[in-house]
Amino acid sequence: MVQFSQLRFDTSFAALSDATRRGVLEQLGHEDASITDLAQKFHMTLTGMKKHVGVLEQVGLVTTEKVGRVRTCRLGLRRLEEEAAWIEGYRQLWDARFSELDKVVEELKRKEKVDGRKKRE
């Protein structure tokens, strides 16, 4: 259960361990940009920038969309936040249910005790 999120956490960290990739995220925080824009900004080849964006994309930090010949990059954080929010909402629903279930369990336990006592008498 822990493994998947841990793995994702680790790869996110690996993705952020590179100065260029952190720079790309910062840049995309201001505005969306094409791979070409980013390559120019960071004085890199198109291929090099594609690799960096690919790493960020893989862990969900960046999303890209190709329109015509231009691939536009934008921050993908929102998706992760949405997933986290949904999971927390789902957890709250079940937590509320289980609080009610606790009461049912307590009642059944009491009932069983009383019935057990009656049987012994």
């Binding site: 909402g89 629903l93 369990v105 336990k109």
Partner: protein, 170 residues
């Protein structure tokens, strides 16, 4: 009586955890302060299910609750909500019902994208660990369940709650 109370201190509220275990799986865990046969009973009798499945804070209530908790048996839950005229329906089939140990059911209201839910009841001393595992047919199906529930925020309107419950598909 006093001695008994000492050996059974008022239990602290147990924690509910939820984890997206993989691209297709969601896992909920919770420990209950009672034996597996009692916890299982609360999951398998409609009159008991009704008492906890619709928490008051969510302002939903059962219109009807049918659950034939036997291998091959069907269930159909119909909920109502104050702000909606349309009732919510959830239904499916119990693929497996092993008393005090395991329940497996399908979630058919959403068509093809529905998860298969497996609930296990594991007795540990005086407690029972319940693990609820939702297996979706694909990564896309789980992503869709999450996306539909998260785009508009959770719990603010009936539509949103609908999505949460559809995704929750217990």
């Amino acid at each position: 009586m006093d001695a008994r109370r000492e050996s059974e201190p008022a239990p602290a509220k147990n924690r509910t955890t939820v984890e997206r275990k993989s691209e297709r799986e969601l896992v909920v865990t919770r420990t209950f302060n009672g034996p597996a046969r009692i916890v299982f009973e609360a999951w398998s009798k409609p009159e008991l299910l009704k008492r906890w499945w619709t928490p008051k804070s969510y302002e939903i209530s059962f219109i009807s609750c049918e659950a034939d908790v036997r291998t091959g048996g069907m269930y159909r839950f119909v909920f109502g909500h104050a702000t909606s005229e349309q009732p919510l329906e959830f239904y499916g089939r119990y693929i497996e019902a092993t008393p005090h140990a395991r329940l497996v059911w399908t979630n058919d209201e959403g068509g093809e994208g529905g998860a298969v839910t497996t609930v296990t009841f594991e007795e540990r001393g005086a407690e029972t660990l319940v693990v609820m595992h939702d297996l979706y047919p694909s990564k896309e199906a789980l992503d869709a369940a999450i996306a539909s529930g998260s785009t508009s925020g959770i719990g603010e309107s009936f539509e949103q709650l609908d999505e949460v419950l559809a995704g929750a598909r217990q």
